[in-house]
Structures are given as C-alpha cells and as structure tokens.
C-alpha cells in the first residue's frame, strides 16, 4: 500500500463513519422555533458537586433549590413589609410559650419521589440541618439544644428549653432551610441527599447536564402545576455573554447585572428589569485571627480610611447605602449611630494609638477580591486600596477569578489567606443571626475568624431574648453598636439585585436573596 492509497482509504473510512453519525435535525434545529419551552435562567456562579442543601453556602445552588425545594414559609422581604411571612408547607405557626413553637403542616403534599410530606420530614430536616458538622448551619443552636416532637403527622412542636433561647427564632428560619425528605436524611450525608435534589417545590430536578441544571414541572405541586414545562438553570461565566443571551432571546432571565448593562438593557425593547434591595450586604472582611488585624484599633483605623460614598458612586444602581452589618430588610436593622465613617484624622489617630503612626511598621497587606460574580468588585477594590494606601496602609489588591477567590475565602487555623477579603452574604430570611451569628460568634466565624467573648455574650443575649421586642432592643442597644466598635468586618453597602428578563416572562417572583418562584410564571 502506498501513501496515496492509504490516504484515500483513510478518507473513505472517515467519511463513512461521519455520515453514519449525521442527524439531519442537527443542521436545522433553531433556538427560535420552540413552542412550549422551559424557562432559561443564566447564573453568574457555578454550583458545588454536592446537592445536599445543608452542605454549602453557594448562592447559585440555593437559587436552584428555590425551584425544587419546599419551605415551611417564604419571606418576600419587601421594604414596606420586611417581616412578612407567607405560609407554604406550614399552614399555621403558633408560639405556645417562650420556648415552644407549634407548626401545623399542609396536608396532601408529596415529594418529587412520591413520598407524602409529613411531620417526620420537618423533624428530620430541623435535626439534620442543625448538626454542628453541616457547613450551612442554619438553626439557633446545634441539635442538642432543641427538641422536635410530632404529636401527629401534620403537627410539629419545637421546644428550645434546653438551649435557653426563644422558640420564635424558628419562625424566620422556617423560610430559610428547605424541607428534606426524612427517608433521604435517614440515609445520611453520603446517601441520595448528595446525589440529587428531592423536594416538594414546583419543579422536579431531572439531571445536571454539564453546566445546565435541568428541571421539569412537577404536575402534583400543591399550588397547581407550573405553567412552564421546566426550568433550565445554566452557569455562564461571562457577564457579556449572559446579556447577549437575554437580548437574542436564548435566555429568559439573567442575574447580577452590572450597572452599565442596566443602561444598555433599559434601552432595549422586549427586555424588562427587576431591581430589588437585597438581603445581601457586601463586606470588607478583616482576618481577625492573625496580625495585624487581630488588633481592633487597626481594623477601626482601616474602616475610617474608607469613603463609602465614593463606593456608592461606583456601584450606581447596583448598591444601596446602609450603615449596619445586616441588610435594611432584615429584622433589627437600624442605622448604627457610631458606624465607622470616612475620617482620615481619626484613622491617623487610631494608627498612632495602635503603634503604627502613619502606617509605619505595618506589614505588607493583601486584599483579596473576585471578579466575574459580584458587580464592580475590582473597581471599588481599587478605590479602597487607594484610600487605604493614602492613609499609610501598605495594601496590595489581588483580584481573582471566582473559583480561586472561593478557595481563599474562609478562615483557617492561624488565619485565612491575605489580610482582607471582599465577600457578600445573602440569606433568604429576615433572621439577622444568619449573618451575625454565622460570622461573629466564635463557634462559627466563617471568614473573619474572630474569637471575642464579649461578642459571643452579646450574640447569645440577643438570641436568648424572651420576646421579639426584647431581641430587637438587644440587637440595637448592645450587639450592633459593639460590632461597629470592634469592626471584625466593614459592611460597605447593601446589594441591589438586578435581574434582566424577557418581556414575555410574566409572574416570576424574585426574592431578595436571588431565589425565584416560577410556579405561576408564564412565557407569553
């Protein structure tokens, strides 16, 4: 055989193999010619490899859970009624006394795998979700601080006497943790919980196909079968790509619009925007467990070096000014009177008091931020860096893509990487402890790594308050001013969630944490 023959035979074999694989529809399928089609949602963040809702704090995956999972209550958290609670799987929540809460459950609800929803599922979820080893710790205390009893299949009683805190804390939390099937929970964290989502929500999890999470309408959903046949939730890393997808009709909803994109899309026919003051604040987290920011004087000095009004100019429509460690739509919010403001003189005074006059003697500081997920992080990161340098802080900004930033985000023994980190924290409930206790109690201290007995005591005091009013007083009179004084993190502003959607998308309700309710959504 010579080279020519070899080549000819090779080409013929290749052509034969290729022809056999051709699907004629492959050439003609179009994105614009589908009738009943799923709602396409493009996300700015990738998911984790584990479907257990208690195993992560990743927003995009929480958003997927919003389509699939059921919640006892939902909290719309609109600014005019931040404390409003809408009953879903629960029909009635009653405080029997300070330490006992009775939850009546909806009957006739089934999980996507066919299991009927009962009190045992709520009990299993509460007890599992509060285990100290679950990464998403959601309840006021670990499992051994409360007791859940089920007098009948549709009644749950939560007793917090052992923990000494009010059972009312479970009211807001009921809208945060999705209800898992007791059968799934019984199989443990290595069981089906991690392999797929199984909920009582309007859409059923079908599969993860590459970066697409495929969900289909659940016909037996207790509020009625959804109007759209399904939801496809896709991770698309590039913001421009997401915007182009929305503009050409391939995507129905996109999230986390940049301010410039808002301007572009406002001028587009067929596109509408949703702007919501979110439940998320953006923070500059100090690594409090290692020098130099283990010194509160330095943290405060840094906080006084930052002009937040300039950050607001950069953020434009994507940010809302606030002066607290929680969002204005959370329970207990008020503008803390002594919240650190831009004050170069005070900054210099504190630097001198800390033993670093004019910043002299400070080690090189690394400020870690991400780009591609949160809007404008790089831009205001550069501003903060310049402002800190102006006061003598030897800061270097390190802008990373999301995965690398995520890797460096959390506290570690001896202090996490870098000295300051940019990150937001969003929890779909008015409950303030989902932020405050998660980050500032020494048992959790997710990012800043602070261990401070005074803060622990203040957090316990507000949690153990006998009534909601007493709790608000404790939050506003003790904990929040203390946080403003110790500044384990500086809350920069409250995020505004801006979603872009096609004009034909009707009835999609977006929660301030980014979750959506598409149960009644239509694509006209």
């Amino acid at each position: 055989m010579d080279r020519r023959k070899f080549l000819h035979y090779g080409a013929a074999a290749g052509a034969l193999f290729g022809t056999a694989r051709i699907n004629p529809g492959f050439f003609f399928s179009s994105a614009h010619a589908q009738a009943a089609r799923p709602l396409v949602f493009l996300s700015a963040e990738n998911i984790t490899g584990n479907w257990d809702p208690t195993a992560h704090t990743t927003l995009s995956q929480t958003n997927i859970e919003g389509f699939v999972m059921g919640y006892l209550t939902r909290a719309p958290m609109r600014p005019d009624a931040p404390d409003e609670v809408v009953h879903e799987l629960a029909t009635e929540i009653t405080e029997l006394d300070a330490h006992r809460l009775q939850i009546k459950l909806r009957e006739g609800v089934t999980f996507h795998d066919g299991k009927p929803f009962k009190a045992e599922d709520v009990k299993a979820t509460f007890e599992y979700g509060a285990l100290p080893d679950r990464p998403k710790q959601v309840y006021p205390g670990p499992t051994d601080t409360f007791e859940v009893t089920t007098p009948d299949d549709y009644t749950v009683i939560v007793d917090t006497s052992k923990g000494g805190y009010g059972a009312s804390l479970f009211i807001f939390l009921a809208s945060y943790l999705p209800i898992l099937s007791a059968t799934d929970v019984a199989a443990g964290p290595n069981g089906p919980l991690s392999q797929r989502l199984n909920g009582t929500g309007p859409f059923k999890f079908v599969e993860q196909r590459g970066n697409d999470t495929v969900m289909e309408a659940f016909p037996d959903y207790f509020r009625g079968a959804p109007k759209v046949p399904g939801v496809t939730f896709s991770f698309v890393g590039d913001a421009t790509t997401r915007m182009l997808s929305l503009m050409n009709g391939q995507a129905d909803v996109i999230e986390r619009l940049e301010p410039e994109q808002v301007e572009t899309l406002q001028a587009e026919e067929g596109i509408k925007l949703s702007r919501l003051v979110s439940v998320e604040n953006k923070y500059l987290w100090f690594r409090c467990s290692k020098p130099p920011f283990d010194n509160p004087l330095l943290r405060k000095a840094a906080a006084h070096a930052i002009d937040r009004s300039m950050i607001m100019e950069i953020m434009g429509t994507a940010g809302e000014a606030s002066a607290n460690f929680i969002s204005p739509i959370k329970f207990g919010y008020f503008d803390i009177p002594d919240y650190p403001e831009y004050d170069p003189e005070e900054c210099q005074r504190l630097l001198a008091e800390a033993g670093y006059p004019g910043g002299q003697g400070l080690p090189e500081l690394e400020y870690i931020t991400s780009t591609g997920f949160y809007p404008k992080t790089k831009e205001y990161g550069e501003l903060i860096t310049a402002l800190l340098q102006e006061q003598g802080f030897p800061v270097t900004l390190n802008v990373m893509e999301v995965a690398a930033w995520n890797e460096r985000l959390y506290d570690r023994p001896g202090g996490g990487p870098g000295h300051m980190v940019d990150c937001g924290w969003s929890t779909g409930s008015p409950e303030p402890d989902l932020v405050l206790r998660t980050h500032f109690h020494s048992t959790s201290k997710r990012i800043c790594g602070i261990e401070d007995p005074e803060l622990d005591a203040a957090l316990d005091e507000e949690r153990n308050a006998p009534s909601m009013e007493a709790r608000k007083q404790s939050l506003q009179g003790n904990l929040m001013p203390m946080l403003a004084d110790k500044v384990p993190a500086l809350s920069l502003f409250t995020s505004v969630l801006i979603h872009g959607m096609r004009a034909e998308v009707e009835g999609l309700f977006i929660y301030p944490d980014g979750q959506s309710d598409a149960a009644t959504a239509t694509l006209a």
Binding site: G49, G210, S245, G249, N406, E407, G416
Partner: protein, 326 residues
Amino acid sequence: MFILRFLARRLFQGAIIVFLVSALIFTLLRVVPGDPVRLMAGGMAPEALIEQIATDMGLRDPIWQQFGRYIGGVVQGDLGQSFVRPANGAAVGGASFDDTTRSERAEVLTLIADTAPMTLQLALLAMGFALVIAVPIGVWGGLRPGGWPDRMALYLSSLFVSLPNFWLGIVLALVLSVKLQLMPAIGYKGFAYAILPALVLAIEIAPFLIRTLTVSVAGVMGQNFIDIARVRGLTRDQIVFRHALKNSSIPLLNLIGVQFSMLLGGVLVIEFIFDYPGLGLLTINAVMQRDFPLIQGIAIVTAAAFVLINIVVDLVATTIDPRLEY
C-alpha cells in the same frame, strides 16, 4: 512498506513530543501557586485535613514520582479523575471541608471525549469558512500581483488580522443574533450554534491563508510551466484551476496544519465568549479551578492532535505533489 516506515517513524517522534509536553506541563502545574487540594476540600478545611488529603493522593511526593505514576496511567489509557468536577461534568465552585459527600468525580478522558468533538466541529467549520473567504481573495490577488485585487487582498488581510476576536465575537453576536435574529449565538443546542463562533475564528485565520495564497499563486504563475501551458493552447481557466492552484496549494496545506494549532488557541477565547461547550471552555474552567489532571489530560490530547494533524498534512502533501519526500 514505505507507509509503515513513515508512520512508525512519525508516530515515534510524536510520542516523544507528547511525552515532553506532558513532563513540562506536569512540572509547571506543580510549581505555580495555588493548592488544588484546598479547592477540592473547600475553603473551610483545616490545614491538617488538607495535608492528609494531599498525602493520600500522593501530591506531596517528589514531582518525578508523581509524574511516573501519572504517565504509567496514561500509557494504559487512564488520564485520571478531575480534582473538582463531579461525574455529571458541571463546573463547580466551593464546597466545605467536612463535605465527604461530594459525588463521584468525573473521568478526565470522559470530559475530553465529550467536548473534543464539539471543538473539532468548530475548528473544521472555521477552517471551511476561512477557505471560502481566503481562496477567492487570495487567488485573485495572486493572479494580479501589484494590481488592485492584490492590494485589496492585502488591505482585507490587514483588516481581519487587526480585529480582536473577543470584540468581533461580541459585535457579530449583537448584529447577527440580537438585531437580525439570523442565528443563535450562545451555548449549544444544535449545529446552528457553531456558525457564529466559527465565523469569528475564520476571520482570525483567513489573513494568513490569503497572504500565503497570494504569494504562492503569484510565484507559480511566474514559472515556466505556466508559460508553456499557454503555448500548449490551454485556456486561462485550465491553467489556473488545473495547474496553478494545485501547485500553489502545498504551502497552503502546510499552513492549514499550523493554523489548526492557532485555532485550538483561539477557541479558548471564542468558546468562553459564546459559552460553547468545547475543549476551550473546559480548559479555561480547568485552569481557573487548578484542576491539574484535566489540564494535563487536555495538554496531552492536544499535543497528540497536533502530531496527528501534521502527519496527515504531510501525507496529503505527498499525494498532491509526489516529488515530496518525508
């Protein structure tokens, strides 16, 4: 027997190249900053756990030992498992240290096998488009050296080569997909989704093909056998299409082989912009996530593809011009 000797020699050379590329990539990945175990175990993992996982996986062994184990697997067709991707292939973000429940990790070979045909389709389509653009312009320019077609070929090449591909991608998506609604642009649900990214890639590589064709056609048209063909009474079309083009295509063919390597670089940006689920997007995500086994696997497969493309190019060239010997 020549073909067997030729293939044996070239494949042996190719294996050495692939081995060297693997060794280089493997070493470089282990000296750059960024601990993949931290990504695997999650941000909240304590150092002791990180070290334990790293030790269990052999990631704290000397690099040559790690490489030895790895290449042993590669020889048996095992490119390893992704550090971070689950078996469903999703690009993933952070997880938590005590999260022992992450689903089974994806096989590198499966991830590459799923995405490589997508990129191959894109590359072939782009090359087809590039030839459709370049051949008429280049041949016409070569037939009239110094004339306005030649100048136009030069200007067009300069224009095409000056357009940044990410910019062109966005503009074309905006015009052809958003404004004119002619075709879809983002993601992949069918062949139509490959057209726009292929067009952008084609415009990126067309200038090189145009210049090569212009020069080579002009060169061939000045040779004796063309003059003789005229004396033989052949028409201009016969001279151009039967003789000149065939002889001009040898440098073009070699260039196409090289351009495929450019294409594989170009797809990184283009697949990211168009969210096209090919090797380019896979590579970008793998690099961002420090997914060492995946990066290594892609590097080996890509290197092997270059080697094979070059062998095919040489074979095709000898078919067109039997005087060539390799």
